[in-house]
Symmetry: C2
Subunit: 423 residues, 2 copies
Amino acid sequence: MNDAHSMKQSQLFTKTRREAPKDEVSKNAQLLIRAGFVHKEMAGVYDLLPLGLRTFEKIVGIIREEMNGIGGQELSMTSLQRKELWEKTGRWSDEAVDVWFKSEFKTGGEVGFGWTHEEPLTALMREHISSYKDLPAYPYQFQTKFRNETRAKSGLMRTREFVMKDLYSFSKNENEHLKFYDACAAAYERIFARAGIGDKTYKTFASGGSFSKFSHEYQTVSEAGEDIIYINEAKKIAINKEVFTDEVKKDLGLGNDFTEAKSIEVGNIFTLGARFSEPLGLTYKDESGKDIPVFMGCYGIGPARLMATIAELLSDEKGLVWPESVAPFAVHLVELSNGNEDVKNEAAELYRELSEAGVEVLWDDRDARAGEKFADSDLIGIPLRVIVSEKTLAAGKFECVERGSGRTTHQSVSELISELTHA
Amino acid sequence: MNDAHSMKQSQLFTKTRREAPKDEVSKNAQLLIRAGFVHKEMAGVYDLLPLGLRTFEKIVGIIREEMNGIGGQELSMTSLQRKELWEKTGRWSDEAVDVWFKSEFKTGGEVGFGWTHEEPLTALMREHISSYKDLPAYPYQFQTKFRNETRAKSGLMRTREFVMKDLYSFSKNENEHLKFYDACAAAYERIFARAGIGDKTYKTFASGGSFSKFSHEYQTVSEAGEDIIYINEAKKIAINKEVFTDEVKKDLGLGNDFTEAKSIEVGNIFTLGARFSEPLGLTYKDESGKDIPVFMGCYGIGPARLMATIAELLSDEKGLVWPESVAPFAVHLVELSNGNEDVKNEAAELYRELSEAGVEVLWDDRDARAGEKFADSDLIGIPLRVIVSEKTLAAGKFECVERGSGRTTHQSVSELISELTHA
């Protein structure tokens, strides 16, 4: 995302704060605001500050890699939505959909701000799909959704404006659809594992639609969650409370061994069938020349919600604790010079060598007390802190502290580079 | 932007079209739609399709590199805007600003969709700037602006929803401001040169505000432009018609040697002074402890307008002609196999070798006639076409055609790789 891989902290314009805003009750937003990752514009509306944008883009990068890996093709659609299109699927009226933001063109006529993109994408695909030879297709995007939520109190978990990775699958039939559905489920599991929350995340049976009995959610166990799930630990799957009935348990052959837990929905996959292709006229000609409605599915992940989930789960009383895969920087280089030029020079040299080796470094070159630097470093949560001081200069090795475990080692530049670049 | 560097054309879901939509009168949108780079949702509202998104992201990458190079720090703000904030600067009412899209929260109260971001960013910076030690700071973003335009007829030049790179400078005083202003001007010149339109783009004097006599625009000469400028070719600068007076010419010491031209505004830089910091209370304490309003500037470029400008300027009667720096792929590998398996295998092998060398390849592996493949290739405008056919197989070298010049060469794999990777 950023060719400025490394950065001096004296040039980072954001400051940490001792206290979160008084009206902010959720732990994820409190920590992310205090550490300077996000700024609250109003309830349910958050800006991404430089540190937050870096972590956000790392998450986006993981998702993009996995979506490209299963044949996804990235595009980017608009927020502005045509009324006429959504009327065809019965999703324009405020009675049918209660999260629309709507406005009016100066030139006349209503316009909506997209809260999802089945309608415009299905309409768009009519120009590119006409034959069975054009299928399957898997377009996806990282795009801003607007949702006029009445309840926005869980920090970055439920917001009124957020980027969503939404992929839509276009298949010839249910069989072809289900193959992709499973491939996407596997990709989702890799994404959550890579983001550091795999062990607490369960593929969860939830209510389906007219074309399938179930949809699937990925639910991460957390007290901050808004959902209730019933986990079968042996099979590592769960059932959402909304469909947790004896019939469903029997259907799934799961017996009665469940643990109830609060959880955060970090992703979902959904069979749509012909729900949108039929009213919007997206059909293809099969080998016999017959017109068949395209069989669709949709697959969502909100990268900022994922960031907030990691913040909830992996933080401690001192602050954030990022896994290496999504940390804004790999190393927090803390210089304790007390005006000692040799220490300053040593820190500058280490900064240069690590950066040149491709390691992303945040160098705390500020003129501040050690206590303040350590507190900030704990709060920001970069995985490895490397301390350069008179003491380390004398010892000939740097003091390295892992943010998560607190484990301390002493390493030379070459040892550090070899560890950090997995060389 | 994309770890899927190379792609088979059979898997690209978009198709080229012979004709643009009838209601599309601008050349840039006609070409970009026909080649499958963009899709028109409605007047002034365009989606970026995979090819368009790739070129868009290349342009974003160039701008990001140059902004980071002058000390910019990337963040990402929200579209949703608080009424109370904009009332303080007198820019909430529809009388003062005629491009607002506004809506209402379900929970009550008006909300706006940002058409620029001086107000929220100035308010945000109050939390991070308090002392002269915190200055200067140069936050910027690539963020979606919504503008309720009554006139949206120039294709992607003037749209109702578009991403803008907007950087805002926060300085201690005018002197510090002007140093950055000049550094940003130089960065803008590098950006337009790298994007292939440097020779047709002029730094142009335009009307200023309360804090400076002039602002500066970057204007690219084109019949598709909406502006009129007067160019002094000797000094490679221009004056916008709106301030082209005898007094201004004299002020700038430019004599009377001007050429009139239509032009596209591809960027602008603007001195804001205390226009926003004063009403919003963004001050800093100087070394004597006195409160001083922060001195601001703003600096904009629209990457999609830049893409459209390149499409207008560098295209020919056959289609788009992208410079290497912003092309969606570096090589269009056109396989003419006629079912010949040796040709197919040779194309697959070339695709693999080029991709592994880091070259981005679009491989036309489709079962289509040579004429159709060449027409599509011309329309899409990838800089280098490499043909693999029975003829090239016999010759032992690939036929390579430059899209811009039509120059044809015959090269081996290793010659190609060495040319394309500048090794």
